[in-house]
């Protein structure tokens, strides 16, 4: 399994989608020549071209380029969408299919058909026979590129033999505890050997005659098992066979290591199925040389492709399950614990199982961003050559996990953004030197999870958006009125409009300005947002805010006046009722908390959110010391703590909008929604203040 193979696989998945949408665009063009459909078709073809170029699929890239050029003329109204043109579009999409098939499965596309369609497209697009820009990329990343672990580093398979010695029980160690400890590490299949149990008359109850073989699928390191072995060192035999170690285990970077996840559902024959046949090696293909990566891949991690709607349905059902469980727990809370002991036990157990199901459902869908991020190194190198600029790419947060469908769909918009930054953002070496900058341009790609969102940022240290030129172009293209009064921010965002391009000549890299439009549309379709901040002369940052589609959060339910607000447990350091002496008032407005030798800002939730009727005096309230992701410690002031609950994060934005200070909402056991706090934004005083004063209403 090479990086190249993974990326190609994702590209082909994308192609399926792109060509599907291309087909429906053509279909709708037959009924009506709508600019939307032309734009959509253009973008699909453009994306296919981009990927094909990057992977050195020359025939596909060449054809897509001709197709795209023709679409561009249609878009600009320079070609007429007559019957012949429609036929050509239909034929073109068919041929694209064949060429994708050819690249994917090696099934040659009929040359005559391809050539004929290509000739017609070129003729109508007014292209030369062999346009130079058709091969913008240095193709062929070498096939022996570094093997990757990111997609499907499988769970380790351990084989454990556990045979208690004669003194184990007497020493107070019940094998039950050992087995339960092992079970907690992963999925265990326990087989007991009972043939040594003597007849009743001969039985010494203080000696254990049962022994066990345990097949454990776990992502836990072997030392976890070693610890158990040490604990019962001379009381029992405890042999651990870690099984054939997957090759990629060596490559796992520390950041990505803790939870390697399979890309898709394991098939029944997959390594994570209960290891009934113990003699079978775990992943035989993983040891094979990478001579035939495609083949090795299919053997190493058998996968089942699952329709995304099915996964979505699973996610929704799990969400409902959690809510129902919370409801049951609330109902039961009124019952007498002694009388209904077994009911409570069952409820406890159920909640644990539901949690496991939820984790499994989430992990099926989650993938590290590395899968997309890793392709950009090669992209940047290619673009360096193509533009003669020098660029250093820094990548951060590639172990952040996000929904699989999001990961898959991210490569296209991120590719566009990176190309844009290199093409338009980072200046030429001469210009940089003249401006006193490092001749090597800096591009920083980072990801971070913030509550129910993942924020991906792409920053360059280039020249920033040339607002004058952007505005001028937008006016030229009739996108804004000549007398429009736009703020800097609004001007910057004009680049997201369809058909916008600041490049004087169509370059082979950024294409025709379709990129930014596609970026915005793709991110919006995923329920996300793109924003842009730019500083003239210093560079630009694109921020993509993407929702984690299915997120289960352990939350502390707090009370402010009569409202519930939820704090992610993971961010809580301590909750306390402060002594008067620990409250320090530097000024009248903002008391601080003196805590373990440092001064923490107290964020009074009631004040931030203008909630009347809450406790004002910090010494009468509860202070929750929290550490927001990537931020400094601060103390949140609430009236009271209600308790801990696992909750399903629901989007506030789907039907409403983003609210500063909140990361989402959830539904509590009583069926009512409650709000989840966004600690990073609450913690950042400046941001919080500024946004409060911004008009909340529309218009």
């Amino acid at each position: 399994m090479t990086e190249e193979e993974d990326l190609k696989r994702i590209f082909f998945l994308e192609c399926e989608e792109l060509l599907g949408s291309a087909e429906s665009s053509v279909e709708s063009l037959r009924n009506e020549a709508s600019p939307e459909a032309i734009n959509a078709l253009f973008r699909s073809v453009h994306s296919v071209k981009g990927g094909a170029g990057a992977f050195g699929m020359d025939r596909l890239a060449k054809f897509a380029h001709a197709f795209e050029s023709f679409m561009d003329l249609l878009r600009k109204g320079k070609a007429e969408l007559d019957q012949a043109a429609l036929d050509l579009l239909f034929d073109g999409v068919d041929v694209l299919h064949m060429l994708v098939d050819e690249s994917q499965h090696g099934k040659p596309a009929p040359a005559a058909r391809v050539d004929a369609a290509l000739a017609s497209l070129r003729q109508r697009a007014g292209l030369e026979e062999e346009p130079e820009e058709a091969e913008p990329f240095e193709p062929e990343i070498p096939a022996e590129a570094a093997p990757s672990n990111a997609i499907a580093a499988p769970l380790r398979q351990y084989q454990i033999r556990f045979a208690p010695g004669p003194r184990l029980l007497a020493a107070g160690v019940d094998p039950l505890l050992i087995l339960r400890t092992i079970k907690q590490l992963g999925t265990a299949s326990v087989e007991a050997e009972v043939s040594k149990i003597p007849a009743l008359a001969e039985l010494d109850p203080s000696v254990c005659h049962i022994s066990w073989t345990i097949a454990l699928d776990s992502s836990a390191p072997k030392r976890d098992l070693d610890e158990i072995a040490e604990m019962i060192d001379d009381l029992a035999t405890f042999e651990i066979d870690a099984g054939p170690e997957p090759d990629m285990a060596h490559e796992v970077s520390p950041a990505a290591a803790p939870e390697p996840k399979a890309l898709a559902l394991p098939s029944p024959a997959a390594p994570s199925a209960p290891a009934a046949k113990k003699t079978e090696p775990a992943a035989p293909a993983a040891k094979e040389p990478a001579a035939d990566p495609a083949k090795a891949r299919t053997q190493a991690t058998p996968t089942v492709r699952v329709d995304v709607p099915k996964l979505e349905r699973l996610g929704n059902m799990v969400g409902e399950l959690i809510i129902t469980q919370a409801f049951l727990a609330r109902q039961a809370a009124g019952l007498d614990t002694d009388q209904y002991r077994s009911l409570f036990r069952a409820l406890d157990e159920m909640s644990q199982h539901i949690r496991d199901i939820a984790d499994a459902a989430t992990s099926i869908r989650a993938q590290p961003l590395k899968v997309v991020f890793q392709r950009f190194g090669a992209l940047v190198r290619d673009l360096e050559k193509a533009t003669s600029k020098r660029i250093r790419l820094e990548v951060q947060g590639e172990s952040v996990e996000i929904d699989k469908t999001v990961v898959e769909r991210l490569s296209e918009p991120l590719t566009h953004l990176i190309r844009n930054s290199i093409d338009h953002g980072i200046e030429s070496t001469e210009k940089r030197l003249a401006a006193g900058k490092d001749p090597v341009g800096r591009l920083r790609l980072s990801a971070e999870q913030r509550g129910s969102h993942v924020v991906i940022e792409l920053s360059d240290d280039g020249g920033g958006i040339n607002r004058e030129r952007v505005l001028q172009k937008a006016i030229e293209r009739g996108l804004v009125a000549p007398d429009a009064q736009l703020s800097d921010e609004e001007t910057d965002h004009l680049i997201f409009l369809p058909g916008f391009s600041t490049a004087e000549a169509v370059t082979s890299i950024s294409g025709r300005g379709v990129g930014m439009d596609a970026v915005r549309a793709t991110i919006a379709e995923m329920g996300g947002q793109v924003t842009l901040t730019s500083h003239p002369g210093r560079g630009s940052t694109f921020s993509l805010h993407l929702p984690l589609s299915l997120a289960i959060l352990d939350a502390m339910v707090t009370l402010v006046a009569r409202h519930n607000y939820l704090i992610p447990i993971s961010a809580i350091v301590e909750s306390l009722r402060p002594m008067p002496a620990s409250i320090v008032r530097m000024d009248k407005q903002n008391p601080m908390l003196s805590w373990r030798g440092s001064m923490l800002r107290i964020v009074n939730l009631a004040k931030e959110f203008s909630i009347p009727g809450a406790v004002e005096d910090p010494t009468q309230a509860i202070l929750v010391v929290v550490r927001p992701a990537g931020g400094d410690l601060f103390a949140l002031q609430v009236d009271d703590l209600i308790g801990q609950e696992p909750v399903v994060v629901k989007s506030l934005e789907k039907n409403y909008r983003k609210v500063v200070g909140l990361s989402g909402a959830t539904i509590l056991g009583d069926g009512r929604p409650a709000l989840i706090l966004d600690l990073p934004s609450l913690g950042s005083a400046q941001l919080g203040r500024r946004k409060i004063e911004a008009p909340v209403g529309a218009d």
Partner: protein
């Protein structure tokens, strides 16, 4: 996969147990009864062993009321299974009546779910 199966297994066990309990069984030979204590430590184990041996001597099958077992141990389960072997050798049976969830879970965790099913089923067999 395995987790799902075992969870289902427990559920099935509980269901089976409940269903089977409803069946009244004809009683051709007298069946001994013994109530297992809530905690089965090594000390009580000797009493249980003695009781089991006594019935075996008398040639009676035995039904163990396991509804009160709260803290089962490997030793207890081993004792029950040892008895089952000895009883079985004489065509007698050791049945578990209303095993508590804790006991079911312990059987399950020890990889002896099949044995549990046999013990509970024994109660209903004529």
């Amino acid at each position: 996969m395995a987790t799902v199966l075992t969870e289902f297994g427990i559920l099935w066990g509980i269901l089976t147990r409940r269903v089977l309990l409803g069946v009244r069984v004809g009683d051709p030979t007298p069946i001994g009864r013994f109530e297992l204590p809530s905690t089965a430590d090594l000390a009580t184990m000797r009493d249980i062993k003695a009781a089991l041996a006594e019935r075996l001597e008398a040639g009676q099958s035995i039904h163990l009321d396991a509804s009160q077992v709260e803290e089962p141990s490997t030793a207890l389960i081993q004792l029950i299974e040892s008895a089952a072997i000895s009883y079985g050798a004489r065509d007698l049976q050791v049945g578990l009546v209303s095993p508590s969830d804790a006991l079911c879970q312990a059987y399950e965790d020890l990889g002896l779910f099949g044995a549990l099913m046999t013990r509970t089923a024994a109660v209903a067999e004529p």
